[in-house]
Symmetry: C2
Subunit: 395 residues, 2 copies
């Protein structure tokens, strides 16, 4: 039968991810890839999983396998409460909800908040996955410029003054794709602007635990708890395959987000949640996190060092205190998508930056480099090789 003619209008907004298409080439043998966006398998606490399971089954028995509340597994929500208070988020378990990855929370937020043609303000560039969650609900995007200190307060104010924005979506700490962090000075300013224009913000925070230097910053939520939805995830501090995120939202919004989730998956995997509860409450995260940081820190140093050693003078890049990415700005006129094709021929891959902009004509001269998925030696070789490709390409 002809399925195409049955599709809802919104299905036509669901494009195959261009980035996925381009990354298909990355798995070729011999390729050194800086294109990834995922945690290193070595960062997973594989050795403690059987212990966590044993504890979960002995504590919760068949409850760990049964249907559960849409809000999430109570022992997990209870153990998230002290965890979140370290980020200045002081709420009880009743205010913490579990999602199927933070992606699940993004979908619910889109579903509950977005009518077609509603405006969403996003950092420019921004996280692709968020747009993929929102797009089926038909919003349009307004970009807010960012610099080395994150989103620019004056730029946000200008956008909010001139547009009826439904919500602002941002990744304030070690952003994907840029690695940049909203500075401590700017956080209260952004909160104040949100308050002045009576606007809701989504603070997506997958990376803040991956800090290699400097001091932890309080969440944006802590500056405007009444109008910020905080999203966290276990994907970077435990294991992404568990598909567990969590959020704290204004209570009225939480009610609707839960109703949305009930229709989408009833609740997230109870077994995953029971394992995560043990991981947090048994002190395993506290022991694992330093290991993850010590795995990534030298990789980031290797990348920053190799960039300084090999990249041409007219390139610049972010120097984040943490996260998984470095953002490279090439000279005006450089087309990194064309560069990508040459790089692939030389068996080195990255992600052309333009994919992180919602408009096609931006970020042509930028690229995202990931440093979590390769060893220091591979990173050094890849950056050097990429620098060679750039030199050939631009000469």
């Amino acid at each position: 039968m002809d399925i195409k003619c049955l599709l809802a209008e919104r299905a036509l907004t669901m494009k195959a991810s261009a980035i996925r298409e381009i990354l298909k080439l990355v798995n070729r043998p011999g390729m050194v890839s800086l294109a990834g966006g995922i945690p290193a398998p070595a960062s997973f606490p594989l050795d403690v999983i059987p212990t966590l399971l044993e504890q979960a089954l002995s504590k919760y028995g068949s409850y760990a396998l049964q249907y559960d509340l849409t809000e999430g597994f109570l022992p997990l929500r209870e153990s998230l409460s002290p965890y979140l208070s370290k980020k200045g988020i002081n709420v009880g378990a009743d205010r913490i909800c579990i999602a199927t990855g933070s992606q699940g929370a993004l979908d619910a937020l889109g579903k509950v908040l977005l009518d077609p043609d509603d405006l969403v303000a996003v950092e420019n560039p921004t996280y692709l996955g968020a747009m993929q969650a929102f797009n089926p609900y038909g919003p349009r995007y307004v970009g807010v410029d960012t610099d080395d200190e994150g989103i620019i307060p004056a730029a946000l104010e200008e956008v909010l003054k001139n547009n009826a924005i439904k919500f602002v979506y941002l990744v304030p700490t070690f952003q994907n794709p840029t690695g940049r962090t909203l500075s401590l000075e700017r956080r209260p300013l952004i909160a104040e602007i949100l308050r002045r224009y009576d606007v809701l913000a989504i603070e997506d925070d997958p990376y803040s635990e991956l800090r290699y230097c400097g001091d932890a910053l309080p969440s944006l939520w802590s500056f405007a708890p009444e109008r910020v939805v905080y999203l966290g995830t276990f994907s970077k501090i435990f294991a992404p395959g568990l598909r567990l995120g969590f959020y704290v939202a204004p209570p009225d919004l939480q009610t609707y987000l839960l109703r949305a989730k009930q229709g989408v998956d009833l609740h997230s995997s109870t077994l995953s949640q029971a394992l995560a509860a043990e991981y947090l409450s048994g002190g395993y995260l506290d022991r694992q996190l330093p290991k993850i940081i010590e795995l990534y820190r030298p990789r980031q140093e290797a990348m920053l060092g190799a960039l300084a050693d090999h990249f041409p003078r007219d390139f610049s890049w972010s120097k984040p205190d943490g996260g998984m990415f470095i953002w490279v700005d090439g000279p005006e006129g450089l087309n990194t998508e064309e560069l990508y094709k040459k790089a692939i021929d030389e068996n080195v891959a990255f992600v052309p930056g333009r994919f992180f902009y919602f408009r096609d004509d931006q970020g042509q001269n930028t690229m995202r480099l990931n440093f979590t998925m390769s060893s220091e030696a591979v990173i050094r070789e890849a950056v050097e090789r990429l620098a060679g490709v750039i030199r050939t390409f631009t000469s």
Copy 2:
């Protein structure tokens, strides 16, 4: 801030589940409940979970914890291929996709197929959770009458003749809420009608493995593979807390369902999938299923026996060959919602049948009784107690 004024129009269709509200009373101490709709914890293969985990970790290592394909974990899809062929569904792993519960597949189907005011044909009564998945996408429903042999072919034809139906949603085997099964004779007739009117159908099949007597029937899919989406789940044969469903859809539709899922949760829990792969491929399901059936069969017999012994003559009920539910029709004029309040006072609970109809004025004299969650003794006592309440209520 005032969240209500930010809500999308579709959020207003997301009602708190009336059934959940009514069931809140069910957890009172001393209550004997026939209101549940979930598997017995004793049906879970709790004892083999550590073995499954050990095997999964030794076979797949960190892959079991990593991000994975939206389509699903390949070893699980491969082991589902021979499993599905027993239902007359002969497809390779590439045609089998994993969902976060069959609920996740229902959400994706709604998202991809339903424009506001599209018409969906459903059995009357039907499974509530499907409507909860579809409702945010704004469809309207057309009911198709059913009898003891399931959906009535002439009634379906009448509906398809007079309405532009986007798809037909049905639970052909041991339906929730009625327990009824679409007879072998009717299956090819329904397929033929679907073909004649060029209509898509969703065959939701959570219960067919729970067969206590009679012969297994081929799936509706097997009679019209080009226009039926088959949905299965691990919730009733393994554990609902894993949140794992699976589906086989026409390839063009599969493409869009996967795009939808990518935005919703990227993929389902890899660890859950790895456990399910071992459960299937290691022969554990083949050993567990007879145990589940031997747990439920006497419970169903106890309920049917107690109904025959105690219920008034003017009541009738379904006598299913399997599943989890028995559907009771009371005399014309009986209001089972009022009856429910009296029953609760007497510490016995059931679900008033009207909740399974999308129109408020139907099924007032019906009720759904669950037999999986209680022992035979409790079931007998509950049915007897309920019969007493009925006698007082109707006299």
